[in-house]
Protein backbone atom coordinates (compact mmCIF):
# COMPACT_ATOMS: atom_id res chain seq x y z
CA UNK A 1 0.00 0.00 0.00
CA UNK A 2 1.13 3.51 -0.66
CA UNK A 3 2.26 5.54 2.31
CA UNK A 4 3.45 9.09 2.86
CA UNK A 5 5.84 9.88 5.70
CA UNK A 6 6.68 13.24 7.17
CA UNK A 7 9.32 12.54 9.77
CA UNK A 8 9.50 16.05 11.23
CA UNK A 9 6.49 16.75 13.47
CA UNK A 10 7.69 20.29 14.09
CA UNK A 11 10.29 22.67 12.75
CA UNK A 12 11.33 26.25 13.43
CA UNK A 13 12.91 28.83 11.17
CA UNK A 14 14.06 32.37 11.69
CA UNK A 15 12.26 35.01 9.67
CA UNK A 16 13.97 35.60 6.29
CA UNK A 17 15.84 32.30 6.52
CA UNK A 18 15.35 29.14 4.47
CA UNK A 19 13.80 25.91 5.72
CA UNK A 20 13.27 22.50 4.15
CA UNK A 21 10.43 20.17 5.09
CA UNK A 22 10.87 16.48 4.34
CA UNK A 23 8.45 14.03 2.77
CA UNK A 24 9.04 10.48 1.63
CA UNK A 25 6.56 8.13 0.06
CA UNK A 26 6.31 4.52 -0.82
CA UNK A 27 4.78 3.37 -4.07
CA UNK A 28 5.29 0.87 -6.84
CA UNK A 29 3.56 3.12 -9.35
CA UNK A 30 5.45 5.15 -11.92
CA UNK A 31 2.82 7.74 -12.72
CA UNK A 32 1.58 9.82 -9.83
CA UNK A 33 1.26 13.32 -8.45
CA UNK A 34 2.61 14.93 -5.32
CA UNK A 35 1.38 17.95 -3.44
CA UNK A 36 2.22 20.19 -0.55
CA UNK A 37 -0.70 21.77 1.28
CA UNK A 38 -0.55 24.45 3.92
CA UNK A 39 -2.96 24.68 6.82
CA UNK A 40 -2.66 27.95 8.78
CA UNK A 41 -4.34 28.44 12.16
CA UNK A 42 -7.56 29.30 10.34
CA UNK A 43 -7.66 25.59 9.35
CA UNK A 44 -8.22 26.42 5.67
CA UNK A 45 -6.20 23.99 3.55
CA UNK A 46 -4.41 25.69 0.69
CA UNK A 47 -2.33 24.20 -2.10
CA UNK A 48 1.30 25.29 -1.98
CA UNK A 49 2.78 23.35 -4.86
CA UNK A 50 2.07 20.41 -7.16
CA UNK A 51 4.51 18.06 -8.88
CA UNK A 52 3.85 15.61 -11.68
CA UNK A 53 6.05 12.54 -11.31
CA UNK A 54 6.77 12.24 -15.02
CA UNK A 55 8.29 15.73 -15.03
CA UNK A 56 11.90 15.80 -13.96
CA UNK A 57 11.92 19.52 -13.42
CA UNK A 58 11.24 20.57 -9.86
CA UNK A 59 8.11 22.67 -9.38
CA UNK A 60 8.48 26.23 -8.11
CA UNK A 61 5.97 28.76 -6.86
CA UNK A 62 7.52 32.06 -5.82
CA UNK A 63 9.38 31.39 -2.54
CA UNK A 64 8.35 27.74 -2.50
CA UNK A 65 10.18 25.04 -4.39
CA UNK A 66 10.48 21.29 -4.20
CA UNK A 67 13.33 18.85 -4.46
CA UNK A 68 11.77 15.86 -6.18
CA UNK A 69 13.93 12.76 -6.15
CA UNK A 70 11.88 10.06 -7.87
CA UNK A 71 14.33 7.22 -7.40
CA UNK A 72 14.66 8.00 -3.70
CA UNK A 73 10.91 8.62 -3.40
CA UNK A 74 11.55 11.92 -1.74
CA UNK A 75 9.63 15.16 -2.13
CA UNK A 76 10.91 17.93 0.10
CA UNK A 77 9.60 21.48 0.27
CA UNK A 78 11.97 24.43 0.51
CA UNK A 79 10.67 27.75 1.75
CA UNK A 80 12.99 30.67 1.05
CA UNK A 81 12.92 34.04 2.78
CA UNK A 82 10.51 32.70 5.41
CA UNK A 83 7.76 35.05 6.52
CA UNK A 84 5.61 35.09 9.63
CA UNK A 85 2.63 34.17 7.46
CA UNK A 86 4.32 30.90 6.53
CA UNK A 87 3.69 29.58 10.02
CA UNK A 88 1.31 26.66 9.55
CA UNK A 89 0.93 22.91 9.33
CA UNK A 90 2.28 21.56 6.07
CA UNK A 91 0.98 18.34 4.61
CA UNK A 92 2.54 16.27 1.89
CA UNK A 93 0.08 14.30 -0.27
CA UNK A 94 0.24 11.67 -2.98
CA UNK A 95 -2.17 10.32 -5.56
CA UNK A 96 -1.54 7.65 -8.11
CA UNK A 97 -2.64 8.38 -11.64
CA UNK A 98 -5.98 6.80 -12.48
CA UNK A 99 -7.11 6.56 -8.87
CA UNK A 100 -9.25 8.80 -6.73
CA UNK A 101 -7.64 8.48 -3.35
CA UNK A 102 -5.26 11.02 -1.95
CA UNK A 103 -2.88 9.85 0.75
CA UNK A 104 -1.71 12.49 3.19
CA UNK A 105 1.25 12.55 5.51
CA UNK A 106 0.81 13.37 9.19
CA UNK A 107 2.03 16.93 8.77
CA UNK A 108 4.88 19.17 9.90
CA UNK A 109 4.17 22.18 12.06
CA UNK A 110 6.35 25.10 10.99
CA UNK A 111 7.05 27.93 13.40
CA UNK A 112 8.54 31.16 12.12
CA UNK A 113 10.52 33.14 14.66
CA UNK A 114 10.68 36.93 14.44
Amino acid sequence: AQTVTQSQPEMSVQEAETVTLSCTYDTSESDYYLFWYKQPPSRQMILVIRQEAYKQQNATENRFSVNFQKAAKSFSLKISDSQLGDAAMYFCAYISSGTYKYIFGTGTRLKVLA
Binding site: Q6, Y33, F35, R43, Q44, M45, I46, L47, R50, E52, F91, A93, I95, S97, T99, Y100, K101, Y102, F104, G105, T106, G107
Partner: protein, 112 residues
Amino acid sequence: DAGITQSPRHKVTETGTPVTLRCHQTENHRYMYWYRQDPGHGLRLIHYSYGVKDTDKGEVSDGYSVSRSKTEDFLLTLESATSSQTSVYFCAISSDPAETQYFGPGTRLLVL
Protein backbone atom coordinates in the same frame (compact mmCIF):
# COMPACT_ATOMS: atom_id res chain seq x y z
CA ASP B 1 -11.29 30.99 -3.69
CA ALA B 2 -13.25 27.94 -4.76
CA GLY B 3 -16.89 28.14 -3.79
CA ILE B 4 -17.18 25.43 -1.22
CA THR B 5 -19.06 25.62 2.05
CA GLN B 6 -19.71 23.21 4.88
CA SER B 7 -22.55 23.15 7.36
CA PRO B 8 -22.72 23.16 10.25
CA ARG B 9 -19.34 24.59 11.15
CA HIS B 10 -19.55 23.32 14.71
CA LYS B 11 -21.69 20.65 16.27
CA VAL B 12 -21.96 18.99 19.63
CA THR B 13 -23.99 15.81 19.82
CA GLU B 14 -24.49 12.80 22.01
CA THR B 15 -23.41 9.23 21.46
CA GLY B 16 -25.92 7.26 19.44
CA THR B 17 -27.38 10.28 17.68
CA PRO B 18 -27.42 10.44 13.89
CA VAL B 19 -25.52 13.38 12.41
CA THR B 20 -25.42 14.72 8.87
CA LEU B 21 -22.80 17.10 7.56
CA ARG B 22 -23.32 18.96 4.33
CA CYS B 23 -20.83 20.05 1.71
CA HIS B 24 -21.98 22.45 -0.96
CA GLN B 25 -20.00 23.62 -4.00
CA THR B 26 -20.67 26.17 -6.70
CA GLU B 27 -17.75 25.14 -8.96
CA ASN B 28 -19.50 22.29 -10.77
CA HIS B 29 -16.58 19.98 -9.97
CA ARG B 30 -17.17 16.31 -10.55
CA TYR B 31 -15.13 14.96 -7.66
CA MET B 32 -15.95 15.46 -4.00
CA TYR B 33 -14.29 14.07 -0.90
CA TRP B 34 -14.84 13.79 2.83
CA TYR B 35 -11.85 13.66 5.15
CA ARG B 36 -11.38 13.63 8.87
CA GLN B 37 -8.42 15.27 10.56
CA ASP B 38 -7.09 14.03 13.85
CA PRO B 39 -3.85 14.87 15.65
CA GLY B 40 -1.06 12.55 14.59
CA HIS B 41 -3.00 11.19 11.62
CA GLY B 42 -3.11 14.01 9.12
CA LEU B 43 -6.12 13.83 6.83
CA ARG B 44 -7.75 10.50 6.20
CA LEU B 45 -10.23 9.86 3.42
CA ILE B 46 -13.67 8.71 4.56
CA HIS B 47 -15.63 8.57 1.30
CA TYR B 48 -15.45 10.15 -2.09
CA SER B 49 -17.72 10.76 -5.06
CA TYR B 50 -16.85 10.71 -8.73
CA GLY B 51 -20.24 11.82 -9.96
CA VAL B 52 -23.89 12.12 -9.03
CA LYS B 53 -24.93 8.95 -7.23
CA ASP B 54 -21.40 7.55 -7.67
CA THR B 55 -19.56 7.12 -4.39
CA ASP B 56 -16.96 4.83 -2.90
CA LYS B 57 -15.23 4.13 0.38
CA GLY B 58 -11.99 5.60 1.59
CA GLU B 59 -9.64 4.26 4.22
CA VAL B 60 -11.79 5.06 7.30
CA SER B 61 -15.35 4.55 6.10
CA ASP B 62 -16.72 2.38 8.93
CA GLY B 63 -19.60 4.14 10.68
CA TYR B 64 -20.08 6.66 7.88
CA SER B 65 -22.29 6.83 4.82
CA VAL B 66 -22.57 9.40 2.06
CA SER B 67 -24.98 10.52 -0.58
CA ARG B 68 -24.75 12.71 -3.63
CA SER B 69 -28.05 13.36 -5.32
CA LYS B 70 -26.86 16.42 -7.25
CA THR B 71 -23.53 17.77 -8.39
CA GLU B 72 -23.30 20.53 -5.83
CA ASP B 73 -24.09 18.63 -2.63
CA PHE B 74 -22.25 15.82 -0.87
CA LEU B 75 -23.66 14.66 2.45
CA LEU B 76 -21.80 12.74 5.13
CA THR B 77 -23.90 10.85 7.67
CA LEU B 78 -22.85 9.31 10.93
CA GLU B 79 -25.61 6.79 11.48
CA SER B 80 -25.02 6.52 15.22
CA ALA B 81 -22.30 8.86 16.42
CA THR B 82 -19.58 7.53 18.71
CA SER B 83 -16.93 9.39 20.71
CA SER B 84 -14.26 8.07 18.32
CA GLN B 85 -15.90 10.16 15.60
CA THR B 86 -15.07 13.38 17.41
CA SER B 87 -12.92 15.12 14.83
CA VAL B 88 -12.63 17.92 12.33
CA TYR B 89 -14.26 17.03 9.04
CA PHE B 90 -13.20 18.53 5.75
CA CYS B 91 -14.91 18.41 2.41
CA ALA B 92 -12.85 18.86 -0.75
CA ILE B 93 -13.61 19.17 -4.44
CA SER B 94 -11.58 18.79 -7.60
CA SER B 95 -12.11 18.88 -11.35
CA ASP B 96 -9.88 15.83 -11.71
CA PRO B 97 -8.29 13.56 -9.09
CA ALA B 98 -4.80 14.55 -10.27
CA GLU B 99 -5.55 18.23 -9.98
CA THR B 100 -5.64 20.45 -6.94
CA GLN B 101 -8.19 19.70 -4.29
CA TYR B 102 -10.00 22.71 -2.88
CA PHE B 103 -11.05 22.38 0.70
CA GLY B 104 -13.98 23.67 2.66
CA PRO B 105 -13.53 25.46 5.98
CA GLY B 106 -14.10 22.32 8.05
CA THR B 107 -16.68 21.18 10.59
CA ARG B 108 -15.67 20.57 14.17
CA LEU B 109 -17.74 17.72 15.61
CA LEU B 110 -17.76 16.78 19.26
CA VAL B 111 -19.53 13.57 20.28
CA LEU B 112 -20.17 13.35 24.01
